[in-house]
Amino acid sequence: MPKSRSAYSIPGKIGKIERHIIVVWVDNEAGVLARIAGLFSGRGYNIESLAVAEVDKKKHISRITIVTEGTPQVIEQINLQLKKLVPVHKVADFKRGEKDILFRELALFKILGNSKKVEKVKKICRKYNPVILDKTNKSIVIQVTALRAEIDKLALDLKTLGLISTSRTGAVAMTKGPKIFN
């Protein structure tokens, strides 16, 4: 047993780390994102990615999707602590890999190269709903939507094909079927 040289206890066993997607509905008011982000940083939780936008213009409700990692105990704390915040309406929590839930991230890639290269790029991206948003004779900007790992891999593959700039969003999530989050 390691010896402690302080009046605080030494750390106990650490549980298994899981990745979760947490969806939070909040009042879209000043400082609300700082409250959420501050809760995570202040309690030592981790934000891997974050996506926020207002989804109800009338009631001013924003939907925040946070990807995070932690032990089951930490994930439970994140949920409970979020629910305590005054502007938070509801919180939904999903484990990565759950079957009845969809995740998507969006990425924009800018690629330099001739038409031959562009054709190659299109081919590599074809599984990920590619849309060419801009095209010149020297460059293209291509949009894809896919899972995080897929975009990671795409970015790697495109590097040799003249990728010079990448812009990505955080993940957004939705349940499958007629059900909605509760």
């Binding site: 302080s6 030494i10 409970l80």
Partner: protein
């Protein structure tokens, strides 16, 4: 059409509608319109502190001893940053505070204006919620919501930041009631089900080594909760221990009470927590000063946890039955259900727990709070015991600073009522006790209010003596003066090879002369034989008193759970401490 009011008028209108009688504060440029309005509202009295931190702790003392939210009024910039310690303290110990701060005019926000700071940004992590008011027509609603947030669910501090132009602007006023949708910190409503109650009762009936472990939640739930707790403990015949914050919820001199638990708790309380087969946690939060090493915390017990804050449940310790509820509500329905079904519980159960009580008596025989008294120097424990004996017949309110004296006060002063014990537990704020005593005395005129203090702590907010004198508040500052930051010195002795780095205060003031210069009374006691007489003198004086009690410089606070150890491995006194250091310093 209703008359339009200025922002400053709206502030007072809201305070009046919230039945606020006292505000603690300090004026400054950005709150002048509010201070200007003060004269028109005779039902609200302003207590002028000498530092915003002092005002904050006074508001805390007021809230803790009265059960009503404390109100704090400060200016922008330094006024707000000075209040941060008090807000954080209130956040950690769940004390309802409403802090109103001035802010630079709206058009100057973000320009680094004079006395500007990002008050809502700075106080976001140390309040339950805060607001920057951008429209005077939102002000009334925000203020009433602020009171509601501060005092519902698990109580805590809130802050409303009001730019100076908003204080001047005219707007509408309306009294908003119960606008908060979420009552219980995240849960909308929670009705205690009979299934939960029956599980609770079943666990009680099955256990042969039970213990109640109660905390500040019982106090925060109101005096009713203490009444019900006493009834339940007497119904079951179970032993009970309390956290630092819960002292007073159950009478300290009762046979079923095992004393405080935790790092400096009694031997019997900690061993009973370790060996029990049923732990009933009511309104406590498994804080690290209580649990010690989490992996070895009470390994063989079923655990019940009653807490109003769902995020307190399962945060540090996994439990078998969790009930999110206000303590009063739960105890009321539990006792009712219990009585319906178990008329002869005490008699049938006595046998089941008799062995447990025998074991507890064996632990008690260790007399872990004993100390070697002296007839030459005043032992600090002896001083607290004498203070208790000489004040116990009065309805006495005790506040403390933070350190050894705080633990000795918790160990040796026995409380019989809730709301009589005000101490900074969560944050551990040195300098809390003196200003808190001011707030307590404001809320309880005519009562005896004593701050059991250390000389180092009390110097941190000593300026508030001037406030006590101004408002003729006869608070007693009972300083256990050992010239050291005692707890720091103790840890350095036990953990850092007696390297007393910077824990001795040279050039302390003469506290008797200091008292006189503030216009209050100074008393010094140097020997045990003059102690009683001097304490009686202090009690009889109807003015603020600083009592310089010169105590043994080297005394350590025992018993103690060494760091990283479970509850059943306490050190009882200096003799054992030697043994342990020879054994290869397991402690350090």
């Amino acid at each position: 059409m209703p008359r339009l009011l200025s922002g400053a008028e709206i502030v007072f209108k809201a305070l009046e509608d919230q039945k606020v009688e006292y505000i603690f504060g300090y004026p400054g440029g950005a709150v002048l319109p509010i201070y200007d309005e003060l004269k028109n509202h005779k039902s609200i009295k302003h207590i002028l502190a000498r530092h915003e931190q002092g005002a904050g702790h006074s508001a805390e003392g007021y809230a803790r001893s009265s059960g009503k939210p404390g109100v704090l009024l400060v200016t922008s910039g330094p006024g707000a940053t000075n209040a941060v310690t008090a807000l954080t303290d209130a956040y950690m110990d769940s004390i309802p505070l409403v802090c109103i701060s001035g802010q630079v005019p709206t058009h100057l926000i973000g320009t680094d204006a004079f006395q500007e700071c990002d008050t809502t940004g700075i106080t976001r992590p140390c309040t339950k919620h805060n607001w920057l008011v951008k429209d005077v027509n939102d002000l009334a609603k925000i203020l009433h919501l602020a009171f509601e947030v501060a005092s519902t669910g698990r109580p805590g501090p809130v802050l409303v930041d009001i730019p100076k132009d908003i204080q001047f602007k005219k707007g509408k006023y309306k009294f908003f009631k119960n606008t908060l949708k979420k009552k219980l910190n995240g849960k909308t409503t929670h009705k205690i089900s009979n299934i939960e109650l029956d599980k609770f009762i079943d666990l009680i009936k099955r256990s042969s080594k039970p213990i109640f472990y109660t905390g500040g939640g019982v106090i925060n739930s109101g005096p009713e909760a203490s009444k019900y707790l006493r009834e339940l403990v007497s119904l079951t015949g179970f032993p009970i221990t309390s956290t630092l914050q819960g002292l007073g919820a159950y009478p300290g001199d009762d046979q079923q009470f095992l004393g405080m638990l935790g790092m400096h708790g009694t031997y019997e309380a900690n061993n009973a927590m370790h060996d029990c087969d049923l732990m009933i946690n009511i309104g406590a939060r498994f804080d690290d000063r209580i649990t010690g090493k989490v992996d070895e915390f009470s390994p063989g017990s079923k655990k019940i946890h009653v807490d109003i804050d769902p995020s307190s449940i399962g945060k540090n310790i996994k439990v078998d039955l969790a009930i999110v509820s206000d303590v009063t509500e739960l105890l009321k329905s539990l006792i009712k259900r219990f009585k319906e079904k178990n008329k002869n519980f005490v008699n049938s159960n006595k046998q089941k727990t008799s062995k447990w009580w025998e074991q507890i008596e064996k632990w008690r025989e260790k007399k872990s709070l004993n100390f070697i008294n002296s007839d030459k120097v005043i032992k600090p424990q002896h001083a607290v015991k004498r203070l208790y004996e000489l004040t116990k017949k009065k309805d006495t309110f005790i506040t403390t600073e933070v350190g050894q004296h705080q633990m000795w006060a918790a160990q040796h002063y026995k409380f019989s009522k809730p709301n009589r014990w005000m101490t900074s537990g969560g944050l551990g704020t040195m300098g809390y006790g003196l200003p808190a005593a001011i707030g307590v005395q404001i809320a309880n005129p005519g009562k005896l209010v004593v701050d059991i203090a250390g000389e180092a702590s009390v110097l941190m907010t000593m300026q508030e003596m001037s406030t006590a004198v101004q408002y003729r508040l006869p608070i007693k500052i009972f300083i256990l003066n050992n010239e050291y930051m005692g707890m720091v010195r103790q840890w350095q002795e036990l953990l850092h090879e007696k390297n007393y780095s910077e824990s001795y205060t040279a050039a302390l003031p003469d506290f008797v002369k200091l008292a006189e210069s503030y216009g209050c009374v100074g008393i010094r006691a140097k020997t045990p034989n003059e102690l009683d007489e001097k304490i009686n003198e202090m009690i009889s004086i109807d003015k603020p008193v600083i009592f310089d009690c010169v105590v043994d410089k080297a005394e350590n606070c025992f018993p103690m759970i060494p760091s990283g150890k479970p509850h059943n491995q306490m050190i009882l006194g200096p003799e054992e401490e030697e043994e342990i250091s020879e054994e290869g310093k397991i402690l350090v």
